[in-house]
Structures are given as C-alpha cells and as structure tokens.
Symmetry: C2
Subunit: 313 residues, 2 copies
C-alpha cells in the first residue's frame, strides 16, 4: 500500500477504507509513514472531510494504538463527561462531585491546558498540597470508596493521538470535525467509562464558532459512541461569555467550591445541574430530568457534596 | 513569523504576501521550516490556489534560491522551449536543430525522465558514445559555434524546486497549477534564455486532462514571464495519442532525425514547424508565421539541419 495513494484518494474527495486508515495510524505510530505525508493527508481531510464510518474507523485505529484503562473492578455505572472547553470552564470541578454524591461513579482522566485556558489538572493543582492520583490502583480504590477520582492522562493511552495532535497543531490542521471528534472520543473510550456526556461549546470564547458547527461536532462524536455501543449524549452550550465570574486556576477552584455550597454564579450552576441531570439519567440513577435535577439540588442543599476543607477562604 | 499562520492563511483562502512566500522558500531551503509544514501548505494550495501575483513571487523566491546561468557572452537572441511532455514527445530533438539552423541560439538545459517517459537527456544518451555537454564553458562555446547546445540540469540552479518537487511527489501535491507553473518557470528563467515557448499538452497521455486546464497552466506561466519581462508564449496541443509513431528513447531519436530529413510523421513534423515558427518570431528572425514556416521548411529541404552522422541506420 503506497501511502501517497491514500493522500490522493482523500484529496479527490473519496472515502478511505478501514485498511487504509489502519495502515495510516499504525504506519505513523511505528515510524514507517513520515510526518510530511500525514500532515498533507490531514490538510486534505480539512477540505474533504470524512464520513461517519471513516471517522469511527479512525477513532478505532487510534484507540487500539495503545492500552485501554480496565475499570471492571469498579461497581456501578462509570460516567464520564467532556467539555470542548473555554475561558472560565471549571465544570468538572463542581459537576463531578455533584453527580458522585448522587451515586454515579466518576473515574475521570483529565488533561492539562493546551491553549490559554488551564486544564482540570492545572486547576486542581492550584490547591496547596493537592495531590493528583498517580496510579491506577489508587484511582480505582478511591472511586470505589468515594465514587470519584481524577487521574492524569497516561502516555500509554492513545499514543497515536499524542503524535497526531502535535503534528496537527503545527501544520494548521486542527480545525477538522472528524479529526477533532476521533481524537476526543479515542481518549474517552480508552479511559473506560460506561457513559459519555459531551458539552460542545460554541461562540466567541469557544473553539467552534457557531451552534451549527458545534452540533456537527457533537453528531460526529455521538456517531462514534454508537459505533462502540456506548451511551453518548451531548449538550450544545454557548460560550460567548466566560463561564461563571472567575477566570484563573485558583479563582476557578474557589468558584467551583462556592457552587457546591449553593453560592455559585447562576449560569455556571445551571450548566452543572443540566449536565448532571443528563449524567444521572445515563447512569439510570434517575428516570427523568425533573427527578435528576431535584437530586442534584438536594445534595447541594444538604451539604453532602462539600469539600472536606474550605477552599473558599 | 510563525509558519503555521502562513499555512492557516492559505487554508482560509487568503493570498500570501511576498514576505510570507520568501520566508517559506528561504526557510525550507535552510532547514528552518520542516517538510511536514511545507507539505500541509502545498496541500492547502492544491485546494485554494494562488493568484498570479503570489505565483510570480513564488517563482521569484525559487529562482533566487540558487544560481542563474549567465549567457551574456552568447551573441543573439537565446530561445528556449519547454514541453509539459507526454508519451513520444521528442520535440526538442528535432525542433532545436531546426530553429538553430534558422539563426536562433538554443542554449538549452534539459532534464531526465521523471515518470514513464524519458527526458531529452535520456533520449540523447541512447545514441552510442553521445556525450552531454558537461560544463558551462563548453556549453557557451558550442552555442556560439553551431547555435545549439544542450546541458544537463545543475543542482546549483533552483535548489528550492529540487526540494519542493521531491516533497510534492510523495505528499500528493503535484497537480496544482501555481506550483507547476512556478516550478517550470523558475527552471526556465534560471537557465538564462531571452525568450520562452511553452508547449502545454492536454489529453489522455498528458499531465493536464483538458484543454481548459492546459490553458490555465499556460496562462499562469505567461503571467510569470510577464512579471520577469521575458517574451513568453504558449501553444496548447493535444496528447490523446502518442506524438509521432516512435516510443522509446532510441526509436524516438531515429524519428527525430528522420523528421529533420523531411521523412517524419505528419503530426510531429507539423508540431515542430508550428513551434519553430513561433520561436523564430520571438527571436525576430521572421516577421510573420508564413515567413517563419517557409524558413523552417527550407532548412529541412536543403539539408542544412542534418545530423553529422546518420543515426537512422
């Protein structure tokens, strides 16, 4: 298989076969296919797109390029969520404890900031002496004990995405729906959750400029979820304004804690309740949105979801 | 200047500035800009194109990436021609002696075959003990003595094109009009001729599929010629059938010699007379096409253009 023919096929607007996509990802990971061919293919994909079948195969090839987290010793439904992110997006910090307090298992793999906004790990580490869980045994034990743990991304998971993302970043090929969708979903699938909720943001402060583009990305990811038989749902939310009032890692932690105490900004609280209610329904902890929302409001009101230390001081 | 911004600008369909194009070519030649960024840019150019100003700047940047042949010690108008090539295209072998016999100076730099057809050098070397002119002094002396010499392409001329062509070949980015036009014209301009005739072929046996595409390429090259104040003209010719009857280096030499003896195939002879008459007008050896054609027919008829040895045996 000559890889230049795969590039030319995509350039001509044709769909790639599963064999061609596997050859691309395996060949790139083992060094047989050079960067300059992959960047040309990614650029062709930016212009010609990929259909949902190709996108699912690309995600599958990336997923199987590395290990997958085995969470089978965690009892119950393991819920994950992903936000495409934006300024002031501290959703995981408040949402994860809320849904964990309602009985969901949250075994979450989080990243660091890629752009100008910090990632969840950066925000958590702004807490003095906070220690991110380092190994899988501690991670699984903590989820079984308190329903919630966050671990840093491992190099052993989805190594193809690490390579591909670094190349896309310097070759002007980041903003392609199938490339973004397969990258996000490969990481979500590798981290072993049973259900996935996607918060796809659009607007001036988000990566997707319009609600239509955000919906297109959401649909591409839901189609991948369907390919892997995972309950995958999405919210399309606006990001013309920063989320909440606080921007900056430490300030965002304070705002998340305040939200768990019922004193959070209206927009951020509403987003957490909305997302949390979908997660509770995915985990079958609630039959409908009203019940789910009431459960989340209850854990805030009764203090079940308080941090053990007061980080708001 | 961050090169990824140049890639993204072209991807978005915007025109690049002269500074951006110079940065690209200089940076690529000196190793500061990596292959994987250049291949992504070339792919974006395949989709978004370049306007005539950008194409001229690209050609200029490539031309000045190396040396230019100094032919100032040759008296008279130095004519060059270029064919986009195809199966059976041995035009240079017959055309160059014909126009040289009519008083034009032909100081031609020729290449070897890139694809399945041989280049002019390959064809000439099928003649037993034929020696391609090796150095510039011999080359210039021979042009002054017999009006005609052919030299092999030098690595010192247009090194940017050597790099870029090799990359385009393996990254599926060959078929872009501005990239082809600037590549051909940079080599023609570097080889120092006063006038340039382009034979742009279309059809099943040619690189350009249709007459419209061939005309587009011809216009792009003529615009570059205008930018450099060089008399540049083009013919658009069909290549649905191989040119002449002979295919294969040695057979093509025989057919070219037969053509110079007035025994060539009709289509090939007509093409040589047509191209030759334009070259004679460019060199101001003839005022009009009728006179030029008569001059060419005369040198064939009176044997002025015979090879010194009979290669047709």
């Amino acid at each position: 298989m000559r890889f230049v023919e795969t590039i030319e096929k995509k350039k001509a607007g044709k769909a790639l076969s599963k064999a061609e996509i596997n050859h691309w990802i395996q060949g790139y990971c083992n060094g047989e296919i050079p960067d300059y061919q992959v960047s040309a293919l990614c650029m062709a994909i930016c212009f010609q797109g990929m259909n949902s079948q190709e996108t699912a195969w690309l995600c599958e090839a990336m997923l199987y390029s590395g290990e997958q987290l085995d969470l089978s010793c965690i009892d119950g439904c393991i819920c994950d969520k992903h936000s495409t992110g934006g300024v002031g997006d501290k959703t995981s910090l408040a949402l994860a404890p809320m849904v964990a307090a309602c009985g969901c298992k949250i075994a979450k793999m989080s990243g660091r900031g890629l752009g100008h906004t910090g990632g969840t790990l950066d925000k958590l580490e702004s807490i003095t002496s906070f220690r991110i869980v380092q190994n899988e045994q501690d991670f699984i034990r903590q989820v079984n004990e308190i329903n919630l743990a966050i671990i840093g991304q491992s190099d052993r998971l989805v190594p193809a995405d690490c390579l591909l993302y670094a190349l896309r970043d310097v070759s002007g090929t980041v903003d392609s729906i199938p490339l973004i969708a397969s990258s996000i979903m490969a990481k979500k699938l590798a981290s072993g959750a049973d259900t996935i909720l996607l918060d796809v943001k659009y607007g001036e402060g988000a990566f997707m400029p319009t609600a239509e583009k955000a919906e297109e990305l959401a649909n591409a990811m839901i189609a991948i979820g369907r390919h892997f038989h995972k309950d995958t749902r999405a919210m399309i939310t606006n990001m013309d304004q920063p989320l909440g009032m606080a921007i900056g890692n430490a300030l965002e932690v304070k705002e998340a804690v305040a939200t768990l105490q019922g004193r959070g900004p209206h927009d951020f609280t509403r987003l957490c309740i909305e997302a949390g209610s979908i997660m509770l329904m995915q985990a079958k902890q609630a039959d409908n949105k009203q019940t789910a929302q009431a459960m989340l409001q209850e854990v805030i009101a009764n203090g079940k979801v308080q941090f053990t230390r007061d980080y708001t001081r």
